[in-house]
Symmetry: C2
Subunit: 166 residues, 2 copies
DNA sequence: GCGAATTATTTTATATATAAAATAATCCCC
DNA sequence: GGGGATTATTTTATATATAAAATAATTCGC
């Protein structure tokens, strides 16, 4: 192999193929699990994943959340939340009220029906997830938690620190 | 703690909270990275992620792929592929022909333009991914590859083996 | 070779998603 | 306290996604 005279051994390959393969595998895993969970939610409860996810956010906070909070927590656009909220209102799973201190702000909450439906679904959902990950040892789960935390931190860093031009 | 007389110590907690947390973290990681990559693809090249992904599939096979193959590889519905292909035809990035041996089958390929555009994008894309994962050590990447392979296998097993009723 | 089952793709209806612009209300600061 | 910046949400236009039904072509058993 003939090397450019500027090239140092330490910074040699710069291939980055491994990171790309890792990203593709991560994406495949998530897509696979997401598809399975979506399918079960639809077949078992006739609910979509975004509806379930939004209800899951609301279940954590009895007082309700603003649409902006939901948007940030779910990492989706504001407009997306607007539509989801409309449909969950129609089906009677959430209610909304305008904040008394800031009339721009809409606070949404689970209704009694919404909470009951969600809790019922969440219990089964948890069992599905446990089953999906059942072939991992406890240590595997711990290791994955740690490595994904590191990945998350690295991705956040990359998001805010622009890449220097090549 | 008072135990039901049927409950054995070995099968005690059955909490499954760890698996759920792992799934949420996995989903967060993927969403975070996906969002960042999508943003860069749009800002830098004015292309969407599904278009990029479809082109990536086609770049791997010079002879082209059938729509069904694309659908399976990308893990999306057939109808989704139909729409994507229409738009990529319009922009001149792919062409399509009907198989001579089976007139049901449509084979799509990158055009010269499609291949050139994709290669140019893919090079930068790879650098973005490398940057996003840059804070992981080589060993972390290897460990993640191994653990995600195991996760993938476990998820596939769960997909085909129905959960026994609780 | 005929017809039933299968396979590949498209169509339909609808839900989810985004980005960007518009709207509306509050904040902030001089 | 008035006006510009900011913030929260909605609207608009479009792309992506699904599931399910429809269409069209092939295969397979007999």
């Amino acid at each position: 192999m003939i090397l450019d005279s500027e090239t140092k051994a330490a910074e040699l390959p710069e291939d980055h193929g491994e990171e790309l393969r890792l990203w593709l595998r991560l994406l495949t895993c998530t897509t696979l699990i997401e598809g399975e969970v979506r399918r079960r939610l639809r077949e078992r409860f006739g609910v979509t994943m975004p509806r379930f996810d939004l209800m899951a956010q609301l279940d954590k906070v009895p007082g309700g959340m603003t649409l902006s909070d939901v948007s940030k927590r779910m990492m989706v656009s504001n407009g997306n939340v607007t539509g989801l909220v409309e449909r969950l209102m129609e089906s009677g799973h959430i209610d909304r009220r305008t904040s008394e201190t800031d009339r721009r702000v809409q606070v949404i909450r689970l209704t009694r029906l919404g909470r009951a439906d969600f809790r019922r679904m969440a219990a089964e959902h948890k069992a599905w997830i446990a089953d999906i990950f059942a072939d991992l040892a406890d240590k595997d789960v711990r290791d994955l938690m740690r490595l994904l935390a590191k990945t998350k931190a690295s991705a956040r860093r990359a998001r805010t620190t622009p890449l220097p031009p090549a």
